[in-house]
């Protein structure tokens, strides 16, 4: 056994597998039991000893039954594929009782995020022997980014509500939360940008048919080529020669000085909302930040690419990538922090959105 193994073994020994806490009723119960114990010793009345024995037996039974309830219950968490900051989603919790003969009764699984922040809880009234029960709780995460569910505690007050016994349960899992997506029109209005003007600056749809391609979720339904779709039993859309005119590259300047974190968050929300807005309108949308670049693309898969990138954006240091892409951009620049370095470059953008606090 190596030293680190020994250390881990000792740590395991020191960390009891169960935690026990008195409930208020349990505290009162123990105080009354102590008082009766004193009375029994004082009077020598065997009937008081009998009542004391009854109370102690209830404490023992509590220990045995709560242990039986907690033992060999496997907790599994299923997270949804996507979640947006500020929007509630369901976390499914399944409990599997591994015991062959005994059911588990009255269990509560308390789920935690990193930093022991409560995520939610799920109560299981009864899990039959070898049975599985599922439930779910609603969770709303206000912050975008990678969130870790660090596992939780499985606890019970069963059978008499005198003690709260708990143990660690549930696995560690991670979940990416996309930025909030708000109404783009509203956001543009708040930022003093006229939506109509912006769209007119980003040139309109072309007319010459360039070819056909397979339908992607998010494509404009008006562009579906029904004849081909009917013939080939698959949806096809028309591509136009001046498709490039319906392109919009979103620039997010994430290089912010300290104290502008909230503005950056707001900028990310605006960028995500614009990406969603334009992609749903059939535009090709791309994204450039100081650290990442997503080439132009269309459809839902493009939206998720952009959202994933935005979800993980952290304040950047260098603007080289942004500056390098500016000259042929013609897109929209989102500025959480109005840095003067952008003054001379603003002209190439269809519009500049300054985040107002």
């Amino acid at each position: 056994m190596s030293l680190s193994q020994l250390k881990q073994f000792l740590l395991r020994l020191l960390r009891p597998p169960r935690r026990l806490r008195f409930t208020p009723e349990g505290t009162r119960f123990v105080i009354v039991a102590l008082a009766i114990g004193v009375a029994a010793i004082n009077t020598g009345n065997n009937l008081l000893y009998l009542i004391l024995a009854m109370m102690l037996s209830m404490i023992i039974i509590s220990g045995i039954l709560s242990e039986s309830s907690l033992r060999t219950v496997d907790i599994r968490r299923s997270l949804p594929r996507e979640a947006f900051a500020g929007k509630p989603f369901l976390v499914k919790i399944s409990a599997l009782n591994g015991k062959k003969r005994l059911p588990s009764i009255s269990l509560t699984f308390q789920d935690y995020l990193e930093g022991k922040v409560s995520a939610g809880n799920q109560y299981f009234l009864r899990i039959t022997q070898k049975g599985k029960v599922s439930g779910s709780y609603h969770l709303t995460l206000d912050k975008r980014g990678m969130h870790t569910f660090r596992g939780g505690s499985l606890s019970t007050r069963y059978p008499f509500g005198l003690f709260l016994k708990s143990r660690d349960a549930g696995d560690v899992s991670e979940m990416l939360v996309y930025p909030r997506i708000l109404d783009a029109k509203e956001l543009l209005r708040e930022s003093g940008v006229d939506e109509g003007e912006l769209e007119s600056r980003i040139k309109g749809r072309g007319t010459d048919l360039y070819g056909l391609r397979g339908y992607v979720l998010g494509d404009d339904r008006r562009a579906i080529h029904w004849k081909t779709s009917a013939r080939l039993s698959k949806l096809y859309v028309r591509e136009f020669a001046r498709e490039d005119a319906r392109k919009v590259m979103l620039f997010l300047d994430d290089c912010i000085p300290e104290g502008f974190e909230d503005a950056l968050e707001k900028g990310i929300t605006i960028t995500a909302s614009l990406a969603s807005h334009f992609l749903y309108k059939g535009y090709q949308v791309g994204l450039v930040t100081s650290g990442e670049e997503i080439p132009l693309g269309i459809g839902m898969s493009q939206l998720y690419k952009i959202l994933r990138t935005l979800a993980l954006v952290s304040p950047g240091k260098e603007r080289e990538r942004l500056f390098a892409r500016v000259k042929d951009a013609g897109g929209v620049l989102v500025l959480p922090y109005d840095d003067p370095v952008w003054k001379e470059r603003e002209g190439v953008f269809a519009d500049v959105i300054r985040v107002t606090s």
Binding site: N42, M54, L56, S57, N121, L125, G131, K132, Y158
Partner: protein, 679 residues
């Protein structure tokens, strides 16, 4: 909702058990029993009518009532508090709305039980205690679930799930828990060290009134007592283990008779010598019979025991004796107590007594031959009866048989006030009970100068073969005669003929035997369980362990001798190998069960699921993909069938992914299939 019905039923059962425990103490007067009944009725009515105002009023008046009760009505602090508890419990029953109300009610019932434990030591408490324990287990468990479910209502615990949880199996489970709890309670009860300090004395038990065991006893005072069937004593004979017919339990001795009253001849008493835990009354060479006696409090301080009590042990601090082999406590016992008596029950043979011609010591003659003022015909009668007797013994026997044959037993003798009681019995009415017979014999013997005295105590033949003990009742109170023989001391004679008793109903007799047995065990092992009992039990356990170990060693030694030294290790090796084989084979078997789930082209568990669903009315249409079918099932049958999704996922992994499922997945599959079958 079924759950709430059960919960309320359990609550009322708990309250009822607490109230019954109080009512059966015999200390609660009928108005309070009425309050209890009204409280229970009000508890049921409060679900329809708002009785909370009435409840509040009762609570408000209860404190002044407590003061009035203590200072004016009962004048007993324990009773006053018990009455207060009854009022408060009833008041709480009238308004049960919140969880806190229920908590308070349960706490009050607990205090009711506590009060009952202080008011009684009767066997009835065993019944109510068991009922309370069972209903408390039930109530607390349901109360816990109720609270958990109501708190977690935001996660929408399905009410139907709650109802389906409280099924017969659930209650059988609770019953099991209650029984388990009772067993642990008893185990803890016997283990808890008895270290009584006794800063405050116990409340005295109910004292049985008796008038036959005082220093001064009026002629005929035992008669009324013999109408009372109350149990006063239980006597175990652990070493004999069988009944001995009638057993005489000697109490007080009365030597001086003035024609109306028997009195002790001497009033002086001296403390009994103590050696270790035993009090030594007298030394002797005969084997002693041990008696374990549980005596209820009576208004006498006499210690009872068979024949001549030589040694005593028990929770006495001091004992006294008066020289007549009677033993006394310093005062009348306040509560039921237990002691061990060791008696010399040997009696001299008839021939030996017949041959005893020694002369009486003068102090015996002076103390036990005085006669009361009676007419000469008493002496004439004595001489007539003993005319043919040649020895003192023969004379005593003659008088004893004369009285037995010629006089009859009755508990309602007539009385001619113009005659002294003894003469009235001997010459006129000729019927009476033990007092009459024994007094007459003593007087007749004294008339012919044979020292005799009256002994009071109990005689019983009520042997309980179930519990192997004698039950002694007030109705067994008795008096008999002791006659002095110079070489052998005092010898007992009983001139009372047997009473004609009504034949007992065998069923009642058998039931009463069982009840008597339970009562004895209750008194012996619960009420009077002591530290000494714990020590004895520990010693016994040790002795048994040692004897068990010796037996095993003997077997091993025999094996060694018989088979030879080589075989022993081989035997152990074989046993160990078999054990390891069993363990491994179980493991292999478990591993071997590994789910080779996939037959050619089919996945049996999925087929099984389809069959079950078809039986439930969900049939998979041709051409529908497994996933679509899973969604359809969920739409039609609801979330209870969510397992179908899991099975479909597993099916896809096996069918299309070629995955071999492990035992964990297999367990999950079986669990889902079981659930679907029950569905």
């Amino acid at each position: 909702m079924r759950f709430y019905t059960y919960f309320k039923a359990a609550t009322y059962l708990l309250v009822m058990s607490a109230f019954i425990s109080l009512a059966l103490t015999g200390e609660i007067e009928s108005p309070y029993i009425m309050v209890i009944a009204l409280g229970m009725a009000g508890g049921i009515m409060q679900e329809r009518f708002d009785l909370s105002l009435l409840s509040r009023v009762i609570v408000m008046v209860s404190v002044p009532f407590l003061l009035a009760d203590f200072f004016i009505i009962s004048k007993d602090i324990l009773l006053a508090f018990t009455h207060l508890l009854i009022l408060l419990t009833s008041a709480r029953l009238l308004s049960l709305r919140t969880d806190s109300d229920y908590s308070q009610l349960y706490l009050l019932t607990f205090f009711d039980l506590l009060a009952a434990s202080a008011l009684t030591i009767n066997f009835s408490f065993a019944f109510t205690f068991t009922l309370y324990l069972v209903s408390a287990t039930w109530v607390l468990l349901l109360f816990h679930i109720k609270r958990e479910v109501e708190v977690k209502e935001e996660v929408e615990i399905n009410r139907r799930e709650l109802d389906s949880t409280v099924n017969l199996r659930f209650f059988l489970g609770i019953g099991g828990i209650a029984v388990f709890s009772l067993v642990i309670t008893l185990a803890i009860f016997f283990i808890l060290p008895r270290v009584g300090i006794g800063l405050f004395s116990k409340k005295p038990g109910k004292v049985l009134k008796t008038s036959g065991f005082a220093d001064k006893v009026d002629f005929g005072s035992i008669g009324p007592v013999t109408l009372d069937p109350t149990t006063v004593m239980r006597v175990e004979l652990p070493e004999l283990g069988i009944g001995m017919g009638s057993v005489y339990l000697r109490g007080g001795v009365l030597g001086s008779f003035n024609g109306v009253t028997w009195e002790k001849e001497r009033s002086g008493r001296e403390a009994v010598k103590k050696e270790g835990a035993d009090f030594i009354i007298s030394e002797g060479t005969h084997p002693l019979v041990r008696q374990e006696i549980i005596l209820d409090p009576i208004d006498s301080n006499v210690i009872f025991g068979m024949a001549r009590v030589m040694r005593l042990s028990g929770r006495f601090t001091v004992l006294f004796t008066d020289g007549s082999d009677s033993v006394y406590l310093p005062g009348n016992p306040a509560s039921r107590f237990q002691y061990t008596a060791y008696s010399d029950i040997s009696t001299p043979k008839a021939q030996e007594l017949d041959a005893d011609r020694g002369s009486y010591p003068p102090e015996i003659l002076s103390a036990y031959t005085n006669t009361p003022p009676v007419s000469a015909r008493v002496k004439e009668l004595a001489l007539t009866i003993t005319g043919n007797a040649r020895s003192r013994y023969q004379k005593a026997v003659a008088i004893e048989s004369y009285l037995k044959k010629n006089y009859s037993y009755t508990l309602e003798p007539k009385r001619d006030e113009s005659l002294p009681p003894v003469e009235d019995f001997l010459f006129k009415n000729r019927e009476g009970y033990c007092d009459h017979f024994s007094t007459a014999m003593a007087v007749l013997l004294r008339e012919i100068a044979i020292p005799a005295r009256l002994v009071t105590g109990y005689v019983t033949s009520e042997w309980n073969d179930l519990g192997r003990f004698y039950t002694v009742r007030q109705s067994n109170a008795h008096s008999w005669v002791e006659v002095y023989f110079p070489s052998y001391g005092w010898v007992s004679f009983d001139p009372t003929p047997p009473a004609i008793s009504a034949e007992e109903n065998p069923v009642i007799s058998s039931v009463s035997k069982y009840i008597g047995y339970m009562r004895l065990k209750w008194d012996r092992y619960i009420v009077n369980f002591t530290f000494q009992d714990q020590v004895n039990a520990a010693r016994e356990a040790r002795r048994r362990t040692e004897s068990g170990r010796e037996s095993i060693l003997k077997v091993i030694a025999a094996l060694r001798a018989g088979i030879g030294k080589v075989w022993i290790p081989l035997l152990f090796l074989g046993a160990a190998a078999s054990f390891i084989y069993l363990i491994l084979s179980r493991k292999w078997r478990r591993g071997g069960k590994g789910p080779l789930l996939r037959k050619k082209g089919t996945v049996p568990f999925y087929q099984e699921m389809l069959k079950i669903l078809a039986r439930k009315g969900v049939i998979k249409p041709e051409g529908m993909t497994p996933r679509e079918f899973a969604r359809l099932t969920l739409e039609e049958k609801g979330d209870a069938y969510s397992g179908v999704i899991d099975l479909t996922e597993l099916f896809e992994r096996v069918r299309y992914g070629g995955t071999m499922l492990g035992s964990k997945e297999m367990e999950e599959i079986n669990a889902v299939l079981r659930h679907l079958r029950k569905g």
